[in-house]
Symmetry: C2
Subunit: 136 residues, 2 copies
């Protein structure tokens, strides 16, 4: 292993940040770089059913980027874990535009390849306002 665990966590957090930058900038070329292109790739957008395989996931981003709403995020509460050639991050995506407000709780799963960490699964779900201070 070339990287220390701490370096690996920094690398994963960096790819995670690039994912949100690509989303904000509607940059499908950056998404092509960030995501794993295999059949195991999956994405669950808030309220959406499961999308599987890179083609379906990529198509969803093309459609989202073509839509009227340009999302802006403040990312908070991120925690990363690395185990072998896999890493996962949970974090809060705080939406900052008029059409979408509130917090999305997100899980991002990464696989390490020869080209670095690649996003293999993204799952986002809205946090209900009443749940924010006291879950349950």
């Amino acid at each position: 292993m070339a990287s220390s665990p701490q370096n690996e966590i920094q690398e994963v957090l960096s790819v995670n940040q690039a994912f949100y930058t690509a989303h904000e900038q509607r940059d499908i070329d950056a998404m092509d770089e960030i995501w794993d292109h295999g059949a195991s790739t999956a994405c669950i957008h808030p309220g959406w059913p499961i999308l599987r395989g890179w083609e379906a996931v990529r198509e969803s981003w093309v459609r989202i980027f073509a839509g009227p709403v340009r999302n802006q995020f403040i990312l908070t509460n991120a925690t990363a874990s690395v185990r072998g050639t896999m890493a996962w991050i949970t974090l809060d995506e705080n939406l900052m535009d008029r059409a979408n407000t509130g917090t999305i709780a997100a899980t991002n799963l990464f696989v390490r390849s020869s080209a670095g960490w690649k996003l293999v699964l993204h799952h986002g779900s809205p946090v209900a306002p009443r749940m924010r201070s006291e879950p349950g």
Copy 2:
């Protein structure tokens, strides 16, 4: 590695089924067996904020099991992937009781330990009815 990839997928699917059986039966002892007890353990129930660490996750199950709603699931559309000592499953949880209907899209992440596959992350999010047939 003692198991073939196909056997490993079967093992992970078996633990995944045990997780839903424990939920339906409100069996906290079974949850203790199924989940990893480390600091990386996390759970995002539908509409809830991120819960981190086994203590917080376990407490959420105690509270859910004490609540008025007894969840029953029909599980469909499950796909499992294994990579090294990690595995992940996405699936649809179809709720079958009067208080909760509809579909929850779920991600379950597992780590392989000497005691077998352990659930380290569960994330569930409601699928919006209009999204079911045509996402986007």
